[in-house]
């Protein structure tokens, strides 16, 4: 059994530090040299900060870099190397401190020390690009848990004039037991061998015929290797892992192992969504769906699978998705739709939550489209969102219900008629307009008194277009109300148009009175009265309407007459059109 014993780093480091100190004390370091090293360090620190703050083409960064290259080049030319000993917060050159910063968040020494580097050596011949590459590595912040630390990055970069010594390089390992224990001398065993091999005197060397093709690569093989290497460099490791998971899940019989892999896959899906790798997440979810339909799978396996898939869309996933959607372009609309469509009805609630937090309009539309598709047989899932305090979520829920077009949603939606948010009321009105049920039209009547003019006018139009006779009286009452005079002309016209549509010949006498009425001292009022009546009559288009207009035309003058005449022409033309058809 191998017995590895090693000394702790601290003991060794203390010994080495003491030894170094002794060596250094014995040789005086010229002040000029230390000062040169310190200057290089100051410039390096300044430049590394600039790397963090500025883009690579920033002129200030370039200036610092040039300065560093000059100073470094000058020091190396004079002293052939710059070796820095790294302490936790300090960098020392030949025992002298040339840099110190005790703030762990800011200290270059701390950063390098934390990654295990104990000495850094810059050698003569160091090229400009090496300096930039070095600063690129040490200058940028990285999460501490990733495997690509400063040492790995320096190693991969392989800078010929930058070397380092690590903490582990100081550790010793007891290698005296390098395998099974063996006697110091093998004489006995060798003798045994020589006894066992008979007729050694007849030993004749037989040339070993090595076919050249075993040893050398031919052109095709070289070409294959090159392609294999290139393919390997381009591959996405996730492809293989996904394939491995598919393979294992397809054949694994052991329930516990199967369950573990199902959980692993579900976790992976969550992680992939978190990182925006939607394509793979979709791939995995589809696979699990297909697997659950596999007839060779036992019922216990299927149950296990179903259970894992239930929790596929968690709150965390919703938050992760929202963050990626709103802060990056990693997820395309079609990918998002693809992912959401894979979730079943049980995920509607979570997807609605997603809808409630996503900011990007385009993506909200995608989510709405998807919810319509998923929820077409489950309208009731959306009802709780009708009372959400996020107005846009409520509005979107109404939109979804309208598009699903299920009349059972009428009651819950109609409760929003008096919602304080006009944008919600608008959607409710649209919903009610789309529902053929006469009850919906009755609900629309309430919009006739909405505080928003556009909603009132739209309600009038809807009622008129639907020929809902029950609206005639309420609309007429509007004309008699105190507030009517304060409405703007477009709304007034809308009211009378609605009256005309709804009342037809029944209201012609009223319009005729309005046409004929004289306002001796208020021509503006007279004109308005005529305009409104004409608006209503234009919608009626019957002979009665025509007669009323003709009569008024004979009586009125100037621009009022012109209005009437125009209306006459319009109605005549409309009638002629009808006759021609």
């Amino acid at each position: 059994m191998l017995n590895l014993a090693f000394f702790s780093e601290s003991v060794f480091m203390a010994e080495i530090a003491a030894e170094q100190k002794e060596n250094i004390e014995q040789q005086e370091v010229p002040k000029e040299e230390v000062s040169s090293a310190a200057e290089v360090m100051q410039t390096m620190v300044k430049t590394s900060k600039a790397f963090k703050m500025y883009l690579s083409n920033n002129p200030l960064l370039h200036r610092f870099l040039e300065e560093l290259k000059t100073k470094m080049g000058s020091h190396l030319a004079k002293y052939s190397e710059l070796k820095l000993d790294i302490d936790q917060f300090e960098l020392r050159y030949k025992g002298k401190t040339v840099y110190e910063n005790r703030d762990p968040k800011d200290s270059l020494a701390f950063k390098i020390y934390s990654d295990g580097i104990r000495s850094l050596i810059f050698s003569e011949g160091m090229e400009d690009k090496e300096i930039s590459d070095f600063l690129e590595i040490v200058g940028k912040d990285r999460p501490s848990d990733i495997d690509d630390d400063i040492v790995t990055l320096l190693w991969m970069k392989d800078l010929p004039h930058v070397t380092y010594i690590l903490a582990e390089d100081y550790l010793e390992f007891d290698t005296s037991h390098a395998g099974p224990t063996a006697p110091t001398s093998q004489q006995e065993n060798i003798k045994g061998l020589y006894k066992a091999i008979p007729t050694l005197s007849e030993v004749v060397p037989t040339p070993m015929l090595i076919p050249q093709n075993i040893l050398s690569l031919n052109e095709d093989e070289i070409s294959w290797l090159k392609k294999a290497k290139e393919l390997d460099e381009k591959r996405n490791p996730l492809d293989e892992v996904v394939q491995i998971l598919f393979s294992i899940l397809s054949v694994e019989k052991d329930f516990s192992v199967f369950g573990d892999f199902v959980d692993i896959t579900a976790n992976l899906i969550g992680n992939l969504i978190h990182s925006g790798d939607i394509h793979y997440a979709v791939h995995l979810i589809r696979f699990l769906r297909e697997l659950s339909k596999n007839e060779t799978l036992s019922s216990s396996h299927k149950d296990r699978l179903a259970k894992a898939m239930e929790v596929t869309v968690s709150e965390d996933i919703v938050k992760d998705l929202q963050e990626i959607i709103d802060t990056s372009d990693k997820i395309k609309p079609e990918s998002l739709k693809e992912l959401l469509l894979l979730f079943d009805k049980t995920a509607i609630k979570q997807i609605c939550e997603l809808l409630g937090i996503v900011q990007k309009m385009e993506m909200r539309k995608v989510i709405v489209d998807t919810l319509v598709e998923i929820g077409k047989d489950s309208s009731e899932v959306f009802y709780p969102f009708l009372t959400d305090n996020r107005w846009y979520l409520v509005r979107n829920a109404v939109i979804i219900l309208r598009r699903i077009d299920n009349p059972v949603s009428l009651e819950p939606v109609s409760k929003l008629i008096c919602h304080k948010e006009p944008r919600i009321r608008k959607e409710v009105l649209l919903y009610l307009a789309a529902v053929p049920d006469v009850k919906a039209k009755a609900y629309i009547l309430k919009f006739l008194h909405d505080e928003i003019s556009a909603l009132r006018m739209h309600a009038l139009k809807v009622l008129a277009d639907s020929k809902f006779h029950g609206a005639l009286k309420p609309v007429f009452e509007i004309t008699a109300s105190k507030e009517f005079d304060d409405k703007d002309i477009s709304e007034k016209k809308a009211v009378f148009e609605a009256l005309g549509e709804l009342g037809s010949d029944e209201v012609v006498p009223i319009f005729k009175d309005m046409l004929m009425k004289r306002y001796w001292f208020n021509k503006a009022k007279e004109k308005e009265s005529v305009v409104l009546a004409v608006a209503g009559l234009r919608k009626i288009k019957t002979d009665a309407a025509l007669n009323a207009l003709e009569e008024a035309s004979n009586v009125k003058k100037d621009e009022i007459k012109a209005v009437i005449t125009q209306a006459l022409r319009f109605i005549s033309a409309e009638k002629a059109k009808v006759l021609t058809k």
């Binding site: 059994m1 191998l2 590895l4 495997d147 040492v151 790995t152 190693w155 991969m156 392989d158 010929p160 582990e168 390992f173 290698t175 390098a178 395998g179 099974p180 063996a182 093998q186 065993n189 060798i190 045994g192 061998l193 020589y194 091999i197 030993v203 004749v204 060397p205 037989t206 070993m208 090595i210 075993i214 040893l215 050398s216 690569l217 093989e221 070289i222 290797l225 090159k226 294999a228 290497k229 393919l231 390997d232 460099e233 591959r235 490791p237 996730l238 293989e240 892992v241 394939q243 491995i244 393979s247 294992i248 397809s250 054949v251 694994e252 192992v257 573990d260 892999f261 692993i264 992680n271």
Partner: protein, 479 residues
């Protein structure tokens, strides 16, 4: 845009540099095989001249320089890939043998001078001393070669054969890296057994160190793979598979970053064994049917362990693939049986080869009786194209040798020798470098390492011997 262009130019120069090295290698070999003046060498000389002119046309220096285990073209570092690995190693080796650090083809170099230069290598027998360089340089002057300049090897580049301090240092470093890795693996595996989160940073560091060591002095590290585990408490097997996989990966031409991923993947390919009962793992005799079935579950356990304890990132994905695939076999005849899994990754194929070789030569697994290295290799070769990727298996043989490192050989002089290193010359792979451990009378000796292909040695290989059968420990010669 200018950055892209400069990258493209660099790539082109790298391609030109590799071609130059290949042609220089051919030049050396042709000069060895044919007398001076033979026309066989003319085509190669002409190629070299063309390449040199092309380099000069681009205002670059047409020089090859040995530097820290690499060859540089001017200042551009050239990394060998699968196609050129051996020519690289051989060219670098030859330059070092003659204590030449750099060869510079000047703008005035002629075809005649290139030819004369090549034959100096044939004429002068190098001795392990800087005097070799002096001799070489004098010969160049005598032959009036002005268009080629050479520089002598600097101290850092000199590693002498035998027990020089540099070589010792290199071996010590290899040993340190090896045992650091064993320690790092054991920490992770113990965490895995206890179901704790896996932290791989330390392992990654040691794998990086291992790659550096491999690039600098591959043989030392491969030699340490003769350290065999005999139980499941130690993790030599994981480390050996890592080293052997990296040796293949290096020959494939993987970048350092990819080598690191491969190393990590190989290091933890057996992490699933943390879930196999120890009494099964360490059973001294053959497995029963049920025990074997339990054992065959470890790839799936490995995937489960990694996904639960490490989560998924680019590195862990690689390790997961290695853990899952390493027993599938090239033709998917292995395990686990997963009909829907159709493509074996490059890493899976590499690790499969290394794992099998180390497994066959250990006493832990399969038949519980280890095979000698050459027998293991022959077994694997018989299954090339079925269990093992045939091309990658070739690369594997290239790295450990036809007589794998650690093989015990009986020589024609009746001496016993251990294979210490592959011969860098591809034409001499059947004659490795060996160390004599017993004389013709069977007396144990501490012999020098020498090249069997050297005619002056006057020795030849008779047969391989199974060290396990005679309880001869070969590991001690590498540690």
């Amino acid at each position: 845009m200018s950055e892209m262009k400069s990258e493209q130019l660099e790539r082109e120069m790298i391609r030109i540099g590799k071609t130059l090295i290949n042609q220089v290698f051919v030049l050396f070999k042709t000069a060895q095989n044919y007398e001076e003046g033979h026309s066989a060498i003319n085509a190669t000389i002409s190629n070299i001249l063309k390449i040199v002119r092309e380099i000069h046309r681009r205002n670059e220096e047409a020089s090859l320089r040995v530097y820290g285990g690499y060859l540089l073209l001017g200042e551009l570092r050239l990394k060998p890939d699968a196609a050129g690995f051996d020519s690289f190693m051989f060219t670098m080796g030859e330059m070092k043998r003659y204590y030449i650090e750099a060869i510079n083809f000047t703008t005035s170099v002629s075809a005649e001078e290139i030819g004369k230069f090549a034959y100096i290598f044939r004429e002068i027998e190098p001795i392990p001393s800087p005097q070799t360089f002096q001799k070489f340089h004098q010969e160049m002057q005598r032959r009036n070669i002005l268009g080629i300049e050479i520089e002598s090897l600097s101290e850092e580049e000199v590693i002498e054969e035998g027990d020089s301090s540099e070589l010792k240092d290199s071996k010590v470093r290899a040993k340190k890296v090896y045992f650091q890795t064993v320690h790092a693996v054991s920490e992770v595996m113990e965490n895995a057994k206890m179901g704790q989160t896996l932290k791989l940073r330390k392992s990654k560091r040691v794998v990086q160190g291992m790659i550096d060591q491999l690039l600098a002095a591959e043989t030392n590290l491969i030699g340490l793979t003769t350290i065999r585990s005999h139980d499941e408490y130690t993790y030599n097997h994981s480390v050996n598979v890592c080293i052997l996989s990296l040796a293949i990966g290096q020959r494939v031409g993987l970048s350092k970053a990819h080598l690191c991923e491969l190393g990590m993947s190989a290091l933890f390919h057996d992490i699933g064994k943390a879930d196999i009962p120890l009494e099964v793992l360490n059973k001294p005799s053959e497995f029963s049917k049920e025990e074997w079935e339990t054992m065959q579950r470890h790839p799936i356990h490995g995937v489960r362990k990694l996904m639960k304890l490490k989560g998924l990132d680019a590195l862990s994905a690689r390790i997961i693939t290695g853990a899952f695939e390493h027993h599938l076999n090239y033709d998917f005849s292995g395990y686990p049986k997963v009909p829907s899994y159709k493509i074996l990754s490059l890493f899976g194929r590499i690790i499969s080869i290394s794992d099998c070789y180390d497994g066959l030569t250990s006493s832990r697994v399969y038949s519980r009786v280890p095979s000698p290295p050459d027998k293991a290799l022959r077994f694997m070769m018989s299954r090339a194209g079925k269990a093992y990727d045939p091309i990658l298996l070739k690369l594997f043989i290239n790295s450990i040798g036809v007589y794998p490192i650690g093989s015990l050989l009986l020589l024609s002089t009746k001496e016993l020798a251990v294979v210490m290193q592959n011969n860098p010359d591809p034409g001499k792979w059947s004659t490795p470098k060996v160390k004599i451990i017993a004389d013709a009378d069977g007396n144990e000796v501490d012999g020098e390492i020498f090249d069997i292909s050297d005619p002056e040695a006057g020795k030849a290989i008779v047969e391989t011997v199974d060290p396990q059968k005679y309880k001869i420990d070969v590991t001690r010669y590498f540690v």
